[in-house]
């Protein structure tokens, strides 16, 4: 099983960089690489949890679990829809 982790928590904010821009960019790449499982670390201040789930579904991933992490951020685990 191929798995990838995307950490959006410390992405700088500039004209070409933002957690949401990185997410869109990364998901398009992963979808074409046939990655089975994605683990995304993010802050719900940047992307609401519901929006994350819906956005992942656009790329064919179903969220299996969402965990809160100590620093207030979240970990979402999503698998490729079969």
């Amino acid at each position: 099983m191929k798995s990838r982790e995307i950490d959006l928590r410390y992405v700088s904010v500039s004209c070409t960089s933002h957690p949401v821009i990185k997410l869109g960019h990364a998901l398009a790449g992963l979808a074409s690489e046939n990655i089975d499982e994605i683990r995304i670390l993010f802050r719900s201040d940047d992307i609401p949890e519901g929006a994350m789930k819906l956005f992942l579904s656009k790329y064919g991933y179903v969220v299996e679990d969402v965990k809160k992490i100590d620093d207030g951020s979240s970990l979402v685990i999503a698998r490729k829809r079969t």
Binding site: T16, G24, A28
Partner: protein
């Protein structure tokens, strides 16, 4: 050697191509003779006075300022021209909308600003500035691979803390026409107090707009995007919405943007609007046919290319954005320039710092795909011959660069 001497040397080395086709209407445009002719009298024959001073040449200036406001109002479904404010560019109009509203409403109304992830930097930067300076929080809504915002996703971003939402009507790089009415409805049903601004610089003159029917609160337009002169923009503000001028200085006709109105340029903007809105449907069809011939011609003649943005009626008629794989976009702009074809690579704001366009990254393009992107913007001043000439030049230019590229 001074900077001007270096640039002169560059231009001399480049030489004057035998044929020139200008497709870089995103960044600046040529101003047609009829528009120039409309401006010239206002430099020294009439209306050269200050439009808020009580003498004849002041009143002549005021007359054309109001004629232009009335014309803009008519073309966006308004009866009242009072809601139109002139600025000196589209960038300034976006700054006025974002900063002006947030400055006026920095207390009590909420702290969240919601933007799409593919907004023009003249929207993103003032929002980030307001966040740093005034304690707001800017969040970006993701888009799909064609640049569309899913209304269901947008809904999850809007809450009682949302004070301002800004989403472009048409994207400046990839030409995506958002379903703006649907997005506004989502915002207003989730929080009726949230204000909806749209940057319509790339929509005005290219798709029909009725601000009343759409329910838009604030809207930016820009003169140079419709072959008017650079240096004029305008902001529509719905009656009852209060802004604080972010710039301070002597006020003139406009009470929200200081400085004397640039009356000759406003007269040119007026003429450009008259031209753009005459035979609207015919002109859009004409440009769309040219654009399709160019875009599909490139797809047909050049291998390893990708179209950025939608490939259907939800793409604005004048936009063709194509990534040429295994080619550096900046190199291709120079190669095409040597053949008299003027285009831009990536977005204007990004290209000067050689960073990939945030718009192309947000729709999921890889860095090399974004770097190899070329933006063509067409208009009714282009001809079929211009497009055929371009289609003859591009395959050889791309092939030559690919042969010397290190990417392959």
């Amino acid at each position: 050697m001074s900077m001007s001497q270096k640039v002169k040397e560059l231009i001399d080395a480049h030489g004057k191509p035998h044929r020139e086709v200008y497709f870089d209407l995103e960044n600046s445009g040529f101003v047609p003779k009829e528009v120039v002719d409309a401006m010239i009298p206002y430099f020294n024959q009439k209306g050269y006075g200050h439009p808020s001073i009580t003498h004849r040449v002041g009143w002549e200036a005021l007359e054309v300022v109001y004629e232009t406001k009335e014309l803009i109002a008519k073309t966006i479904g308004l009866n009242e021209p009072e809601n139109i404010v002139f600025t000196h560019s589209g960038t300034e109009a976006n700054n006025l909308a974002i900063l002006g509203y947030l400055l006026k409403n920095k207390e009590n109304k909420g702290k969240k600003i919601v933007l799409s992830s593919i907004e023009h930097l003249s929207v993103i930067f003032p929002a980030q500035f307001a966040s740093d300076l005034l304690g707001f929080k800017t969040v970006l809504v993701p888009v799909d691979r064609e640049g569309f915002i899913d209304p269901e996703i947008l809904k999850l971003y809007i809450d009682k803390d949302t004070v301002l939402v800004s989403i472009q009507m048409v994207n400046h790089e990839i030409g995506t026409i958002q379903k703006i009415k649907e997005l506004i409805d989502v915002v207003k049903s989730a929080n009726p107090k949230a204000i909806f601004h749209t940057d319509a610089a790339d929509a005005y003159g290219w798709i029909p707009i009725d601000v009343e029917k759409l329910g838009i609160d604030m809207m930016t337009i820009s003169s140079h995007k419709i072959h008017g002169p650079r240096g004029v923009g305008a902001l529509y503000i719905r009656k009852g919405i209060e802004l604080e001028p972010p710039l301070k200085g002597q006020l003139s006709v406009e009470k929200l943007w200081p400085g004397v109105e640039n009356v000759p340029l406003i007269a040119g903007f007026k003429k450009a609007i008259e031209i753009m809105f005459s035979d609207f449907s015919y002109r859009i069809d004409y440009v769309k046919n040219l654009r399709d011939r160019l875009m599909y011609g490139i797809l047909d003649k050049v291998p390893n290319v990708l179209v950025n943005g939608p490939l259907n009626e939800m793409r604005v008629a004048n936009n063709a954005n194509i990534s040429f794989l295994y080619v550096e976009g900046e190199a291709l702009t120079v190669e095409l320039s040597l053949n008299g074809i003027y285009v831009s690579s990536g977005s204007a704001c990004s290209s000067r710092v050689l960073e990939p366009s945030h718009v192309l990254l947000a729709i999921g393009r890889k860095h090399e795909e974004a770097h190899g992107s070329i933006l063509f913007k067409l208009s009714h001043y282009h001809s079929k011959e211009d497009v055929e000439y371009t289609l003859n030049v591009i395959p050889n230019a791309v092939e030559r660069l690919r042969k010397i590229s290190s990417w392959r």
